[in-house]
Symmetry: C2
Subunit: 411 residues, 2 copies
């Protein structure tokens, strides 16, 4: 599998985060000759926030995380790549319990402080015996965070991803510098509300679980919940944010506390960066596409219209062909089911205005629109002429590469 043409030039140089240790292991659960288990061990007192798939058939690890999230504390997060442990009935629950208790013993913590994520094929049972012998080895491999270990961790959680995904931001919390570092995986089955995408974010700030959840939920709504590759939603989507407190900042317990806004901005920046990297690794993607909708009845209506455009196979194939077939945008606006004034519609491809007042603009240059479509980063803007609701979502084009990957792939 060659690396996506939209990939960043290199994996970023991620800073250390106090209170986090990382480990990886090539356990051979599905893949050969690569790490497929990842563990982050967290300092005592670490708080946690999470958001999960809206699928009504969630995976066993999602069920597990939802159950223990209420405690608000975490001592570890572990992830296996290659098998989603989804739709595996009672066996799925047995596998999550075994993983958590085995790791708890090895790490000397409680099982219900260990968060779990699995990604890969749905419907196949996890090989529990192999897991049981691999997990203590994994636990013993842990080392401090560093640029190198973050990259190893990001590599270990990949499935069809063509590149490892990481991002960081820093913030000033009441005079103390803190870091937010995140790693993520995902390239297909990507749609709001989250798709087979996993994101693990870590900060050394001290934050209550409640304040952390508020930051994460805001950030996810404007990042992971605004990307789509193929409109398919996974059973396993999980984004977790951990705060170790190792930087010894004053405790942030609500939006009015010093540093809340700064840290929330850093969390949002990491979420946005990681979510864009997932789109840039969209299966078969050759274009990173930003869909902006303005003039809708509400922001939510604008988001629905933007997703209708971004999920339309006809829009996405036209983008792949660099074809300024803007009639397909009109079609997608029409099918979105949200109020739009056909005779006030305005459309731009890049900064070339295509249509105004529901008809092609005099002087519209298809050549200029096509020039923009040849770029890597395409911007489509539509004003639907009703109100002041606005939203932006990100997607990619639909190419032969998507078919190649998915009409053969079994994780």
């Amino acid at each position: 599998m060659s690396v996506s043409p939209l990939a960043p030039a290199s994996f970023p140089e991620l800073p250390a985060v106090g209170g986090v240790e990382l480990a990886t292991l090539a356990a051979g659960l599905r893949y050969e000759k690569r790490a497929d288990l990842m563990l982050a061990f967290l300092a005592e007192g670490t708080t946690v926030a999470g958001t999960f798939t809206k699928s009504l058939c969630p995976s066993a690890p999602v069920d597990w995380c939802r159950r223990i999230l209420a405690n608000g504390t975490a001592r570890a997060v572990a992830c296996n790549a290659g098998n989603a442990n989804a739709f595996t009935g009672k066996h799925g629950d047995t596998a999550t319990e075994l993983t958590a208790t085995t790791l708890a013993t090895a790490l000397g913590v409680e099982a219900n402080e260990i968060f779990l994520a699995s990604t890969g094929v749905i419907g196949e049972t996890l090989p529990t015996e192999a897991l049981a012998s691999a997990l203590p080895v994994l636990a013993g491999n842990r080392v401090p965070t560093s640029a190198a270990t973050w990259q190893e961790a990001a590599d270990a959680i990949r499935t069809t991803d063509t590149f490892a995904k990481g991002a960081s931001a820093s913030a000033d919390v009441a005079g103390t510098a803190v870091n937010v570092v995140g790693i993520a995986k995902g390239s297909g089955m990507i749609a709001p509300d989250m798709a087979t995408m996993l994101g693990f974010l870590f900060t050394d700030a001290a934050v209550t679980a409640e304040a952390l959840q508020s930051m994460l939920s805001d950030g996810v709504e404007h990042s992971f919940n605004r990307i789509t590759v193929d409109s398919d939603t996974s059973t396993s989507d999980t984004v977790l944010l951990f705060a170790t407190g190792a930087a010894e900042t004053p405790l942030i317990s609500g939006p009015n506390d010093p540093g809340y806004a700064e840290l929330a901005a850093a969390v949002s920046a990491v979420n946005l960066d990681l979510s864009h990297q997932i789109v840039r690794d969209g299966e078969g993607a050759t274009k990173f596409v930003e869909v902006r909708v303005t003039g809708a009845e509400t922001d939510q209506a604008a988001k629905i219209i933007a997703l209708a455009i971004g999920n339309s196979p006809l829009v996405k194939t036209a983008l792949a062909a660099e074809d300024a077939n803007w009639g397909r945008i009109v079609m997608a606006v029409g099918k979105a089911g949200q109020r739009a004034d056909r005779d006030a519609l305005a459309i731009w491809i890049g900064d070339e205005q295509v249509a105004a007042d529901g008809i092609q603009l005099d002087g519209y240059s298809e050549d200029r629109a096509t020039e923009h479509l040849k770029e890597d980063h395409v911007i489509l803007t539509t004003d639907v002429g009703i109100g002041s609701g606005a939203a932006t979502i990100w997607t990619c084009d639909l190419t032969h590469g998507y078919i190649d990957i998915n009409a053969g792939y079994r994780s």
Copy 2:
């Protein structure tokens, strides 16, 4: 463009329908060397029923038909292929008016009794001068209905269709034999509620407009509104049903009248046949896929789940690969947003049961499932374990052919 591998062996031998005359013309509006205008001239007293796209950006002809449908009577229907006359602002209305008034003069009827449909590229204006000179020629070409003229009419309304679509059924209305004949076009931008698909049905029974509308609406809900090729909904979808009364049956004015049930069944049969032909001509399709959902909370919930399965790019690419990757069905059930009991889910591929009680069945034979997937007509059945709601929808697989057609095509 080669003919779809799922096409019927030949165009059916359609019977004559009294009170209908057909005409076609190669007007050169977009295509060369083929008819691109179709006219059906209808006897005095013909009643009409219609269903249209739910797009909020409908084409000018859809607006026109909706406006005149309230009269309940029709003297003609005309269709041009290659240009949808959609998103063409005031010019679109001017073009529909010109078409109707020009034909009205040529045929000696009222403009508001002439139904119009356009299919093809969105956003380009219709060449009104060329139309104005072509329409009187078209009107002069009309001939009685016959197997040959039905086929010519079905050919003239094609755009990306790889084969002409026609179907017929007969019914006994209070002792008198009547026919229902339909022609249709459509192969992409197909999704409920109707996609660029046009259907024109004709019967020689005598039926009030109200009774006719009731028959058509029922028929469309269980046929055209249950097919999907790419989840995209066109601006132009139109199905019209005309009853000329030429067979001199007693007038059918409601569901309790003699012959209503028989004629409604014939109308439904023609709708179903035409809608399946559209799926069989789905862009790039190599499989005709029937998705059955049972055990849902309501029939409507079952339909939503079935469409989530049928529209999933991941399910559709797995079908193209003949890969029994049933985890993707679970994923689609989960994202449908309707109640489903994950731990009671049962799945069949053909008659091979894959899963029961939310887990892969002991003794499931992937080989047998794969054998079924190699067939042209694939049946996927899912019981979601909640209630007794059931629905069936029809779709096709997602292949390189779809990308080829849509990442290059401008009608």
